[in-house]
Subunit: 353 residues, 4 copies
């Protein structure tokens, strides 16, 4: 759900990420919907359903489409595709209009555009994760043997090293990196099902058209997944793993900054309006909160699996309400964790002379 | 958390509410933070801490403050108040600068501004609820005795009337209305605690200042609630009750529209890009999804009760991540339910001649 | 949902509460279902529907009912009432059989028995809360002026006292106590709706019978609330408030026990199999986890508001899956917090000579 | 968390599964903890830390251990291992006592026993899933071409077949089957970390001992995962996928049973105490509720990733509170879905002559 407070700017970019947000924004998403429509038109042409001339004309129409406010149409239809298609077809001669979207359905467009979006987001998160892993490896190299009291169940346990702690931050992140390839493969499936998921249009050429669309968009073709939301819920799961492992780092660092514990010194913590001298571990606290947020949303996203009949507007809405917010929160958390690690001026137990 | 997808405009206003959003937006919220600062300055004057002249000068400074991008400061400090106060004081002579915010803390400002915001939101929701109650009463009057099959556990039970069903929609909403007064009283408490919640500044006049601020803002004065988030969690609870009861209406209407059941006819349902003839109960489905969303967020908002020590940045962030989104979702749901009820063209079991 | 691991005994009573559990157990719950049936029979008599003799005979049958395993019937019917009623009526002469349950419905029985259970649980929790409040007041009296560093956002802020911290533990609990009376009033409503919530049986005497049942059970009579789950969701909300405020205490104490912080010494913390010398704040950690558990379940319980048509088996099940577990967790948490406070041997910052 | 209501027997086995429950029960779990201890002792022997004689004596002691009530010890220690180890060592000569558990830690035992439990549960769920898949394939073969109205967004869309619907039930389940092998590999990792996760005891032989333990238990050896809960959260994710896909089946069937829709006839639905003629789709409703339950718990289980320092009692408790309940609910849901599909007497749109 939208949250006007966090996006107000009042909180800077603590709970936002403009790069990830832009991927779900109207320009990027509309462009991906149009990529689907272009691929569809070309697939109709390849299947001999329309002529080259009709296809060219339709593709030009789609290419020239620009953002219009589909609010009114979406309010009525529940999603922007019917309004988009109507605007593309509007005022065109019949055979050009018919070369657009015919045989596809709204969900094909929006699901495929969502997949393309998630893949782009995944690329960005993968880059940030790699940067963070590098930074943690550097930290590990520089501080591996410094003394640090190991603590279990909030109690000092036995003397250990910074290496033990930082390895416990690093290792799960490397593991999450190793899952990306399989995740991308799960995600990168075109949605082509038609009105009710039969994938039977155009008659006798449905599979050919679907293959063509998949190929044009760099996606694979599997069975229709209109009502099977496994891959998107799986993306959400990966986001919870990443943000969860970051949450551990944030929680650890927040605890290490405590006076009396004094196991870390950060550069540039946040001041207070009443106590300007303070060095609050603002990023660490934000990371913990973002982590709980992402984990929690997974519990709602997963309910989208209960997707009744051949299409559920309610279940789809649960995805739209959660997944973009989870992606943005994970992106923000990766950025913050990188900044937090970069700000470490000293780590390890204080040593007395 | 922000959700760039839902606010992209691609979904119109199905999952947004611009009126509620504006209450949490930068202009409204900043204005309320400034109202606190003005009240604080005047309270210092009333307590003899500053002169009338200093107070007038400070109030003028605050009044002239305009929106500036506090992103950089918020990124560092975790919230906008230190940046705001610094900008207000910047370049002023010391005694004017000292007449601003001295003795207050960021949390006092942001919690009080949040309370004022919630009260405004509650007013708006109360109005919408009243409108909806009126509409349901009209519907009840018009259709009370029309036949409707009562259904339990998804099965036809015994013949009943539309009155039975519509009463079950109306009655809980009236009950939720009756809870508003107590809720408003719980919410309408100023936050004045100072740096760590002691409420001990200015020395010897702390209670007087707090009373003055409360009075100026139309709020009551109770104990410091820095770490006791009961009232905000209680507001969230009321939002879940309202959106939950709307969810029942949405679910019922979605079921009533099914072919074969045919217990309701709506004006202007949503079309499909593949099946333009369809009349999808778009609003009903959105209401169900919004209801699950709000209910789910309450499970995270409630975790903000685990508010460690004298102030927890993580716990506060959980509130900021959930409550504004819950309020906006409830607002949207009230609007949609009203529109949905207004769109009823026929209700009740189809009667054969 | 059942959790065989926590009830295995492997974890002692850390995540269980046998007193609260017993209230939801078969003996207590069956007894309350039978109390409803007795009240119903007597109400039928009072309304002149059955004779004194028939009522006496029916009441004796109900009184003699003992626990039988209704599993098979519940597996088929979805709840135990049809099986119970069938067993009560089995082998009786028709007019005695008819004096049992006629005109009531399963949900009337189970909702009313649930209300009676919740009221008993509330009594028990109220007692525990009172004990805890007393203990905290004693602690406050004994240690109010001891020095304690106030900490905000995980950082030392300004020197303060134990009184500031302990007051922040105590005050919300007193507030939660003050909500009990209104909560009890909300909860204490008999459920009498009949098959589909019409409350129309027996004909011409339905309201009289309902009043009689309510009076016999010490409950009030309001409108049918078959599909309006506000009061049970409200009970869940109160449980989240209580366990949430306890969670703050647990989190604070866990942090205070840290070596380097050393602000509290507890008697009898838990040992480790590898480090028997340790004094782990086991209860404090359990309280935090119980608090997150209860808060989280509220997000699912609240979804029971989306209660379709005249009765939803799915929505009712969400209540049965969450509310008893939330009550037991809150009960355990109250017990643990009391034990934890009682175990304090020293509190406050360590003072150097 | 325990739920005394659902395990009371009042609801039969609708919300329970005794086979899965037994895997988490005291006998099975204690036996697995003892398997770890035996493997550990033998590993110490293999590493030359203890003699063959000492190992034999220790193993005999462990083998003869029987269930004792560790409640008191668990209440103090937070988990049953310290009590278990103390009882095993009690009254033994020092060198035998030292041959037990020395160098291991409680978490090694409990995590490894949990892994062994999850693997057994996974075997059982895999079997049930295979049975269900077979049954759905049979249903598909028998009814593929029967007519069924496809429905999207609660509205009749275009005529289709039972095959379209049943395929949408079957396909995701087959996909979930295909994920089991990788899941098992992720799960099947021994936990050997010692007091704080260093894996450094016995000195110079730690890796050898760990390998030996892993081999003896049929597990693989990877890095210590004391604070990295990815694999258990991943198991939870798989449970949400399975129960989520079952939830779709349950929701579809509940909708198909509606009078007016009449797309399915089930054998032996549940009766009502007021309306004994009814055929309520009790299993279908239970499956939907179980599905929401499991999905929701994942949102809390995932928070266990925020596992502070070298061991968090709070974070571990979140796992213990959720995962066993999720496994039991998924097991029950698989059983119910199988029963539900088996009970289909007719499927597809009613055909008029």
């Amino acid at each position: 759900m939208t949250n006007p407070f966090l996006q107000s700017g009042l909180f800077g970019t603590l709970f936002r990420d403009q790069t990830i947000a832009a991927e779900f924004g109207v320009d990027a998403f509309l462009a991906r919907m149009c990529r689907f429509e272009v691929a569809w038109t070309r697939a109709l042409e390849a299947a001999g359903q329309i002529t080259r001339f009709e296809a060219d004309a339709a593709v030009e129409v789609i290419a020239q489409s620009s953002w219009r406010d589909y609010s009114a149409a979406s309010d009525k239809d529940g999603l922007p595709v019917p309004g988009l298609v109507a605007s593309l077809r509007e005022g065109r001669e019949t055979r050009v209009a018919s070369a657009i979207h015919t045989g596809a359905t709204s969900q094909d467009v929006i699901d495929t555009a969502m997949v393309l979006t998630c893949l782009n987001v995944l690329d960005e998160l993968e880059d940030r994760l790699a940067t963070l892993v590098d930074r943690l490896e550097t930290l590990l190299d520089a501080s591996r043997d410094l003394p640090l009291m190991a603590r279990t169940r909030m109690q000092a346990a036995v003397p250990a090293t910074v290496g033990l702690r930082v390895s416990s931050w690093l290792r799960p992140l490397v593991d999450h990196q190793s899952r990306i390839q399989a995740l991308r493969q799960d995600l990168a499936k075109v949605q082509v099902g038609g009105a009710v998921g039969k994938r039977d249009t155009p008659a006798d050429h449905a599979e050919l058209v679907a293959e063509h669309v998949a190929h044009a968009l760099g996606l694979s073709l599997g069975p229709v997944w209109h009502t099977d939301r496994t891959s998107l819920v799986g993306f959400g799961h990966w986001l919870t793993l990443v943000s969860g492992s970051l949450g551990k780092i944030g929680q650890d660092i927040a605890l290490m900054t405590q006076q009396g514990v004094d196991e870390i010194v950060l550069d540039g913590g946040g001041g207070s309006s009443a106590m300007p001298h303070k060095q609050n571990p603002v990023l660490a606290e934000a990371i913990v909160a973002l982590s709980r947020f992402v984990a929690h949303q997974q519990g709602l996203l997963a309910q989208s699996m209960i997707h009744e009949q051949e299409r559920s507007g309610s279940a789809l809405a649960l995805e739209w309400m959660t997944l973009p917010a989870m992606a943005e929160a994970t992106g923000a958390s990766l950025r913050h964790t990188d900044g937090l690690i970069a700000s470490i001026k000293r780590i390890g137990s204080q040593q007395t002379a």
